[in-house]
Symmetry: C2
Amino acid sequence: MQQKETEISDLGEFGLIDRLTQDFPLKNPQTKMGVGDDAAILAFGEKDVVVTTDLLLEGIHFDLRYVPLQHLGYKAAIVNFSDIFAMNAIPRQITVSLGISSRFTVEHIDALYAGIRRACEIYNVDLVGGDTSASVSGLVISITCIGDVEAGKEVKRSGAKPTDIICVSGDLGAAFMGLQLLERENSIAAGQKDFQPDFAGKEYILERQLKPEARKDIIELLHNEGLTPTSMIDISDGLSSELLHICKASNVGCRVYEDKIPIDYQTALMAEEFNMNLVTAAMNGGEDYELLFTLPLTDHEKIEKLKGVSMIGYVTSPDLGLALVTRDGAEIPIKAQGWNAFNK
Amino acid sequence: MQQKETEISDLGEFGLIDRLTQDFPLKNPQTKMGVGDDAAILAFGEKDVVVTTDLLLEGIHFDLRYVPLQHLGYKAAIVNFSDIFAMNAIPRQITVSLGISSRFTVEHIDALYAGIRRACEIYNVDLVGGDTSASVSGLVISITCIGDVEAGKEVKRSGAKPTDIICVSGDLGAAFMGLQLLERENSIAAGQKDFQPDFAGKEYILERQLKPEARKDIIELLHNEGLTPTSMIDISDGLSSELLHICKASNVGCRVYEDKIPIDYQTALMAEEFNMNLVTAAMNGGEDYELLFTLPLTDHEKIEKLKGVSMIGYVTSPDLGLALVTRDGAEIPIKAQGWNAFNK
């Protein structure tokens, strides 16, 4: 049975906001007031407040032909949480602004919000405001996330020091290979009626692309082990790009070992099937939302015991530059080849 | 001489961000770190933190045929500051996210940012972050603003009580009439080469539309006089719409007197020229960014002395509903006819 669909204009802006925000009970005591006034009210006392924002545009950051709206909402929230965790902080509140073109119904936006709501539930984050508007073109999603951290405990990109160990959580390149798979199946599907894509055995890389998680567990693990990174960043544009950010901000160089980069077997199999260079995918793929961080060499023994964390190299003085050390010992300069929305 | 124009893709995302954010020195001690990491770091101590966000889309909220980019940037910042003032708070930081389509050059974005920078300078606000992306359609501007207020001193929409006096700053309807004028001159210009619009004697309504200000002065004035509103909102969608917000949130009714609504003579002349109802323009025009607030009846003598503040009516019990009292004493129910982006 076809579900009844509701035009956005039937509700109007305020009706839509009421509908979207009614199921977001506030969970953080720091949230004094959420949606419903000119601005939300937060109270952080002796904590430092951390703010990040992310703009997602249809046709640039996502393709609705193969991204379900619920997953898109989930991911849109997660990418912001990931930025907050990368400061060693805990996300507390988000604001969500949407530009909605006329082809979207209220049910579409409900699905998008269901994903945002699920992410907020799992990560214990409050929705405290936003703005909703018509759009003459595609869907626009702008999320701002606010977090807190004990004053002075925030970890920036700029604190890496020579001899520090470079660490990365989880594995890399899977989200990129998941995207390749989705794009291939979508282009095959375009030519055939009733085409059913075959995703068996590829669930992991698809989930990494469509429904990534932010590494709250790693922040908690580091905290529990008494480890405070000297620098940290989340991997959204690819390992190469993030290494460049850390080295530039910290004025250091680095050596990263090809054979130490963590890669899942599904990622490796998919790269082979696509005849793609696996290390390139892992270095430049992006959208992994893992954490890249540095720790003093003296923490070596503690790091070895951390589950889900790999040591991939070390920090050098700036004059040595950035290089990837291949399996045969050759050094390849690291350049950003990550995703650039402005590339022609 | 034609100025050299730079393609956005020549700079890339990070190059563009560097260029845009280089001239934003931090001014607030609460801003521990601005642009350049995963998130900005703020420290508010014993203050309450206030957050608002606003999404502006080309073709919906602005028309670049008659809005200079520098004014657009200024206004985009101002509308957010206005929301913070409407909470009785002071804006401290903003994040700016931009979606930029290929027809924009770096110089265009520089002009937009020049306006944002000017607004930040005048209102003493720090730019602390943002996101920049290509857009497949028009220009997208998403701004989030953070402010602070002494804990417990924030003014919500929900505190209005029967017998409170309803006050409004400045005058109403001018921004709306300015927009009518710009649209008329633009449609005439479309048919003629070398057409020069005649804006003489209409500078005030044009400025109200193109380069509005946020009423920081009114917040300071109220503070200096020891007056704390029981409720407050800024007038972005029109007086009718904002009165409905306050009355709904406070569970009250109101009586507003037609002959008390402050209107500038340029607004009145323009309405006559367009054969439009002046009160309708003032009640429903929107984009005035004046403050609408309520104060206890006992403050009557103090309010009378406030420069730039008009008493336009009073708050009633909810069962009396919302009404505009006309010059001949008739009561017309107040309905929201403000701007709705989703109207077909």
